[in-house]
C-alpha cells in the first residue's frame, strides 16, 4: 500500500515512516511543506495520504488546504489528517464532500501503533477515522437535539464509536458485547434518529456524521 506522508518535524516524520514501513506500507514520498505535498499527492496518487495540518511555509493550516485541494482534483483520494488539536470546523470541511476516505486524528493516537495503522487502513479502504475527541465534541454541541437525548447510554456509546468509523466487530470488541447486540443497537439508533438504514458500513458512518454535523 503506497503512502504519501507530510510532516515538518523531522523526528516525527522519520518515526511515522518507520512505523508505517514496519507495517508493510510503501512510502511513496515523505514531504515537509504544503506546496510539495500537493504536488506529491497529485503526481503519486497514493493509496492513502497521512498529512499534518500545520505545515511550512506559512505554518497555518497548509496541510489541510493541500489535502482538500488534492481531493478536489482527485475525488475520493483517501487522506488521514493528523493534528496537535482537533477542530469541528476542520472536520466539517473534510467531511463536506460526503465521499468518505477521510481520517482526522490527534497526533497522540500514533502512540498506539496498532490502532493507528488500523485507522490508516480503514481510510485507505474508503472508510472514516474520526478522533474520539471530535466525535464527543460533536455530540456535546448537539445537546439541543432531542433525538440524541432519547438514546440509551449504551446506544450513545455505540453511536460515538460508530461515528469514529469503527466496524461492528471493532465496536463489539471494544464494548465487550456480541456483534449481534451491536447490530441491534445500531438499528435502534437509526430508528430513533430517523436515518435511512443501509447495509454499507461506510455510508452508515457518513450518515451518522452528517447527522451530528447538522
Amino acid at each position: 500500500m503506497r503512502v504519501v506522508l507530510a510532516e515538518d518535524l523531522a523526528l516525527l516524520r522519520e518515526g511515522l515512516v518507520s512505523l508505517l514501513e514496519s507495517h508493510d506500507f510503501e512510502i511513496a514520498a515523505a514531504v515537509d511543506n504544503g506546496p510539495s505535498l500537493l504536488k506529491a499527492l497529485v503526481d503519486h496518487r497514493p493509496d492513502v495520504a497521512v498529512v499534518d495540518v500545520r505545515l511550512p511555509p506559512s505554518f497555518t493550516d497548509e496541510g489541510l488546504q493541500a489535502a482538500l485541494e488534492a481531493r478536489r482534483r482527485v475525488p475520493g483520494l483517501p487522506v488521514l489528517v493528523l493534528s496537535q488539536y482537533v477542530e469541528q470546523l476542520y472536520a466539517r470541511e473534510l467531511l463536506a464532500d460526503g465521499s468518505g476516505g477521510i481520517g482526522y486524528l490527534l497526533k497522540d493516537r500514533v502512540f498506539d501503533a496498532a490502532q493507528f495503522v488500523d485507522a490508516v487502513r480503514r481510510v485507505a479502504a474508503g472508510g472514516t477515522a474520526m478522533d474520539p475527541e471530535v466525535i464527543s465534541r460533536l455530540v456535546a454541541s448537539s445537546t439541543r437535539d432531542t433525538p440524541l437525548a432519547r438514546l440509551t447510554p449504551r446506544e450513545s456509546e455505540v453511536l460515538e464509536l460508530m461515528a469514529q468509523g469503527r466496524s461492528n466487530a471493532a465496536i463489539a470488541e471494544k464494548l465487550v458485547i456480541t456483534e449481534r447486540a451491536v447490530t441491534k443497537h445500531t438499528a435502534n439508533i437509526f430508528a430513533k434518529l430517523d436515518l435511512p438504514v443501509t447495509g454499507d458500513d461506510n455510508r452508515r458512518v457518513l450518515a451518522v456524521l452528517a447527522y451530528l454535523n447538522r
Binding site: 495540518v53 488546504q65 482538500l68 488539536y85 469541528q88 466539517r92 497522540d108 465534541r137 454541541s141 439541543r144
Partner: protein, 437 residues
C-alpha cells in the same frame, strides 16, 4: 458610551423636537442660579472663603451643565464630550486645597462653562426654544380666533397678534379672524418643520462651549492612553503568570513524573518485566494527558484556528463548539492585525459564555463585518434581556481590553430581550484571504 439606542421615525422626531427645545431652554433657569452662585464665589476669590468654595462651585456648575450635555447627545445628533482636564489626586490639607483651586481655575473649561450660563439663555431662545415658542404662539392664535379675542374685546382690552389688532371689533371682523387662523397655522407648521433643524443648530452651539477644545481633547486622550496601557500591561503580566503556573503544575510536573517512571521501568526491565509493562502503559497515558493539557493551554493563549484562518473562521469554530450553536455571518475582505483579531475573538468568546449563562437565550446570531475602517461584531440573543454593563457580567472587562485598541462596546438589552452587544475596533485589513470559507 451610548447605551440603549432607540430609533425614532422622522415624524416622531419632528413631533418631539419643539418640546425638547423648550425643555433645553428651561434648563437655563437652574443653570442661571448656579451661575449666579459661581460668580458670587468668584467675586470672593481674594478672600480665603472664595478659594475654599471655588472647587465646589465649579463642580456644581459642571454637574449642572452635564444635564445639557446628556440631552444634547440624546436629542440633537451632535455629540458633546466632557471637556474637563483630568483632575489630579486630591491631597489633604491647605496645600491640597490650593492646588485643587489652581487646577480648576486654570482649566479653560471652567470659564467656558460660565460663559455658557450667561450666553445660553439668549442663544437658546432663538434656536432650540424657537420652534416651541412658535407653536405656542400658534395655539394662542387659535384661542384668540375662537374665544379669547372676543373676551378681550368685550372687556375693552387691546392686543396685537402679529399685525392683527385685537380690540372690541375683533370678533365681528371675519377678515381679522381668518388672518389670525392663517398666521397661527403657519406658526405651528413652521414650528414643527424647523424643530429638528433648530435642535441640531443648538447642538453645534453646545459643542462650541460645552465640548472639549483641541487642548483638552489631547489631555483626555493622553489620560485614556495611559490608563489603557497600564491595564494592558497588567493584563498581559497576569496572563503570563497564569501560563507559567499552568505549565509548572501541569505538563512540566507530568514530564518529571514520566522521567521518574522511565527510570523505574529501566530498573524493573530484567527483574520484573510484568510490572515494567504496567508502568509503561501508565507512562504512555501520562504523556497523552500532558499533551492534552498543553493543547488546552495553547487554546487559551491563542486558538489554533485563529492563527490558521483569522477571526472569521475562529468565531465559526467557536460557534460550532458552543451549546447554543450560534448562527455566524462573516463578511471580511481580509484579516485585521493579529492583536486585534485576538482581542475580538476573546471578546466574542466571553460574550457567548455570558449569553449561555445569564440570558436564557435559545438562539444566538453573530455578525462579523468590516465597515469604514472598523471591525464590527454584533452578537444578538433572544434571551430575557435586561443585561447591564454594571452587572459584573464581564462586559466592563471586555470594554477595557478592547479599549487598548480604541475599541468600543455598546450594549442594548431592554427587559424582555433581545440583547445586542456590538463591538467596534478600528483596524486595517491585510491582504485578502486565500483560504476557502
Amino acid at each position: 458610551m451610548n447605551g440603549v439606542t432607540v430609533r425614532e421615525t422622522r415624524l416622531q422626531r419632528h413631533a418631539r423636537a419643539p418640546w425638547r427645545g423648550l425643555a433645553l431652554y428651561l434648563l437655563s433657569v437652574p443653570a442661571t442660579l448656579v451661575g449666579l452662585w459661581f460668580i458670587t464665589v468668584v467675586s470672593m476669590i481674594t478672600s480665603f472663603v472664595g478659594v475654599l468654595l471655588f472647587p465646589s462651585a465649579a463642580m456644581l456648575l459642571r454637574t449642572q451643565l452635564d444635564a445639557y450635555r446628556s440631552r444634547i447627545n440624546k436629542w440633537t445628533g451632535v455629540r458633546v464630550q466632557r471637556p474637563y482636564l483630568p483632575e489630579q489626586e486630591t491631597e489633604p490639607g491647605v496645600l491640597g486645597m490650593i492646588k485643587r483651586f489652581v487646577g480648576l481655575a486654570s482649566d479653560p473649561a471652567t470659564w467656558r462653562d460660565y460663559l455658557w450660563v450667561v450666553a445660553d439663555p439668549i442663544v437658546a431662545l432663538f434656536t432650540a426654544a424657537l420652534p416651541g415658542m412658535l407653536i405656542l404662539y400658534g395655539v394662542w392664535g387659535y384661542a384668540l380666533a375662537t374665544f379669547a379675542g372676543g373676551l378681550i374685546g368685550h372687556y375693552g382690552g387691546s392686543d396685537w397678534y402679529t399685525w392683527i389688532h385685537v380690540d372690541s371689533g375683533y370678533d365681528r371682523s371675519a377678515e381679522r379672524i381668518v388672518s389670525t387662523v392663517v398666521v397661527a397655522t403657519v406658526c405651528i407648521v413652521v414650528g414643527y418643520l424647523i424643530g429638528p433643524k433648530m435642535l441640531t443648530v443648538y447642538g453645534h452651539w453646545g459643542r462650541l462651549l460645552l465640548g472639549p477644545t483641541r487642548k483638552s481633547e489631547l489631555a483626555l486622550r493622553v489620560r485614556h492612553l495611559q490608563e489603557s496601557r497600564s491595564e494592558a500591561v497588567d493584563a498581559s503580566a497576569a496572563e503570563l503568570r497564569r501560563i507559567e503556573r499552568d505549565l509548572h503544575d501541569g505538563a512540566q510536573a507530568r514530564l518529571v513524573a514520566m522521567g521518574m517512571s522511565l527510570g523505574a521501568i529501566e530498573h524493573l526491565l530484567d527483574r520484573d518485566p510484568e510490572k515494567a509493562r504496567i508502568l509503561l502503559a501508565e507512562t504512555r497515558a501520562s504523556s497523552a494527558k500532558a499533551l492534552s493539557e498543553l493543547r488546552d493551554l495553547v487554546r487559551g493563549i491563542h486558538p489554533p484556528v485563529l492563527a490558521d484562518r483569522g477571526v472569521g473562521d475562529a468565531v465559526k469554530a467557536l460557534a460550532l463548539d458552543h451549546p447554543l450553536r450560534p448562527e455566524v455571518n462573516v463578511e471580511l475582505p481580509g484579516r485585521p492585525e493579529p492583536p486585534v483579531e485576538s482581542a475580538a475573538y476573546f471578546a466574542v468568546s466571553e460574550i457567548l459564555t455570558n449569553a449561555a449563562k445569564h440570558s436564557g437565550a435559545s438562539r444566538v446570531w453573530i455578525d462579523v463585518r468590516y465597515e469604514r475602517g472598523m471591525l464590527r461584531i454584533t452578537v444578538t440573543d433572544d434571551g430575557r434581556g435586561g443585561a447591564r454593563m454594571e452587572d459584573g457580567t464581564g462586559l466592563r472587562g471586555i470594554e477595557r481590553r478592547i479599549g487598548t485598541f480604541d475599541g468600543v462596546l455598546a450594549l442594548s438589552s431592554p427587559v424582555g430581550g433581545p440583547t445586542i452587544v456590538t463591538l467596534e475596533l478600528p483596524c486595517a485589513l491585510s491582504s485578502p484571504k486565500t483560504s476557502p470559507s
